[in-house]
Symmetry: C2
DNA sequence: TCACTTACGAGACCTCTTTCCATAAGTTTC
DNA sequence: GAAACTTATGGAAAGAGGTCTCGTAAGTGA
């Protein structure tokens, strides 16, 4: 249950501050009267709220807009650059850092390769340097980073510790959130990469209008992320969606079955060109994929199934057989689409996660 | 996102009414001063709120409690009998009706057998009569039933229509919520029986302290219900957890494998007695069960797995092998327990669902 | 009967919101 | 260039809620 706290008059101010701030963020720039109309509050109240927000540095007055009739109205804008958040994707062979302002607009991006076999301390150091370089390069003061979120492959528990990683050496047991928190001295979060990719699709990608989403990361390895009610569902131990370990679903074979015919890219290219062996290989892959996907789909019954990861670039060559096999397994399956962001979604989803935290903690709720 | 409405002073009153009402419901009977301490509100405010609630009929003043020192305090109690809710379980061979007051205390219960082959209209009529008889028998005015919820096997969509039933004749397509709403002229809901059983366990049974729960109904047929964050997760089409159709998980064989050796009860009894053939049969059943369960567990990663349904009465004879097989399939599975209510949980969960609705709509939020 | 304890009730004061009205600062028209 | 019109601003007053304080009421125990 939501534990409800009693409210005095200041609660009303809190709520109205929220309402006003949200409206202003949507509008970008607005006058007092406009905000009053939008929020349903009186102009006076909006003014008082905005004064307070101005003092706190959230809001800035911008020059009035000439040209219209009547006395020019004071105009206010949300200071999206009052703070920033960092999203990091620490994957097998690279680190991707995305810096965004409070509106979620991406300000800078940094990609740094890292050796697949790099031990954990080295990988962490690469990530740290990349984050600092990204922030410094964008001319953002390090103290202006209010939150950071990191995504990585493997199972990440609620506290942001990597509790199991099969692919990155020495990665199991790394307290990713704890360590990353010290980079900027801000709150830090960590989550599974597929989960974050799902979040990114829900935010700005293919899954914007879906509430419950299953995201399948189809690449050299297979992973899955789940959104329930538009929010991350990590599960008790952060392992929700990690269905790969179940032998019956055959996700372990899936990847190997594909590369038997050559590199994955070659196989998909061949399938596009109409090569029958390649088509068969893709079909087999899709079938294996569908078994695991259907387990997730039947369990969660999502609005949408998003296929991401490197292989999703193959598009309909993969999707068509996947849809077919899925339809056989699930009586009434969800819509299936490819991801908008592919691998870049992880860092973007991390940004969203960090923003969620900032909006909850700093902007209050 | 939650759409936030601006608040004036009356918002504060609404919130404080909520807080007070909740506290009073927890306490049962309390004085103004006690409520003030609990809620953090001033005595004055509590008094004003209670006056208002008294006028609306939610709250009643009860005689003061003598014996303690000082001036006797006025005492107030929540009027749990101001309204009632009905929970119905329409299953293959019987209808169970549970009538509860606003505290969720069960006031009356009615069990009526119904022929397994009964067509839908007859089944509905039996359910209707049972509901009316239960309410009338308890001396509760029919207009005092504020909400009704019905649980049934099969897939029930968001609107409360049975979109697929494989076991009840003519049941597919029945608008259960719509029809049941006319019985008392109140809001009516319908949901899958396993989902409601899960809700009951979370409310008052084995799953009270778990937030994410997978409930498996193990009986003549197999079904599953899922709770996320303590709330029902029906999924897009109401089919969340309906993993039985997936051939790989082998839930279809599970049931048949058991009864090959005789009736299920005999087999479990034999296993308890140490009969080797029976033990093997139970082990095979547990193994099949574990495959489907692990798919759900890996997908959702719940805090708790509850085994309900008729077979759960076998207790450790079933649970021990189930835990063993599950541990093989899921690296770090959740705790596994048997249900508290068994089959009775469906009607009780329906009560909880109806109460949730009443609390949201009538008591406001 | 007196002291002690606990609850009640009225009044003062604070916060936040809304409504109303006079005033300011532009544009358009004559 | 002045008058009329439009739109925004700023201050005063009123109302709804909530808290705090203090005197009073209504019990118990000696």
């Amino acid at each position: 249950m939501t534990d409800l706290r009693p409210g005095d008059a200041s609660l009303v101010r809190k709520v109205n501050t929220q309402v006003t701030l949200r409206a202003l963020r949507r509008e970008g720039v607005a006058t007092l009267t406009q905000l009053g109309r939008i929020t349903g509050l009186s102009r006076q109240t909006v003014e008082a709220v905005l004064d307070e927000l101005g003092e706190r540095g959230w809001v800035r007055e911008v020059p009035p807009d000439g040209g219209v009739m009547g006395r020019p109205a004071r105009r206010f804008g949300f200071r999206a650059d009052a703070g920033h958040v960092v999203g990091v994707d620490v994957s097998g062979d690279r680190v991707v850092v995305t810096l965004a302002d409070l509106n979620g607009e991406v300000v800078a991006c940094e990609r740094v390769p890292v050796a697949a076999g790099a031990p954990a301390p080295e990988r962490l150091d690469v990530a740290r340097r990349a984050c600092l370089a990204c922030v410094d390069g964008a001319g953002v003061a390090r103290t202006r980073v209010w939150a950071l979120a990191a995504g990585t492959s493997g199972i990440v528990d609620r506290s942001g510790r990597v509790s199991l990683s099969l692919t990155l050496p020495g990665w199991t047991g790394v307290d990713l959130a704890g360590i990353a928190g010290r980079w900027f001295g801000c709150t830090a979060l960590a989550a599974n990469d597929a989960n974050l990719a799902a979040l990114a699709e829900h935010w700005r990608g293919s899954a914007q209008h879906a509430s419950d989403v299953v995201y399948i990361l189809a690449g050299h390895r297979l992973g899955a992320g789940i959104l329930i009610g538009g929010r991350l569902h990590p599960g008790r131990s952060g392992a929700a969606g990690e269905i790969g370990t179940l032998r019956q679903v055959g996700w372990e074979e899936a990847a190997t079955s594909l590369v038997k015919e050559g590199s994955a890219e070659e196989v998909f290219a061949g399938a596009v060109a109409g090569d029958r062996a390649a088509l068969r290989a893709v079909d087999r892959y899709a079938e294996n994929l569908a078994i695991g996907a259907s387990a997730l789909v039947l369990a969660v019954d999502p609005d949408l199934l998003v296929i991401g990861g490197a292989y999703s670039q193959a598009g309909d060559v993969l999707l068509a057989p996947l849809r077919r096999h899925l339809a056989e397994l699930c009586l009434s399956g969800p819509e299936v689409v490819t991801s908008t962001f592919g691998d870049d979604g992880v860092a973007l989803g991390a940004v969203r996660l960090a923003l969620d935290r900032v909006e909850r903690d700093v902007l209050g709720l």
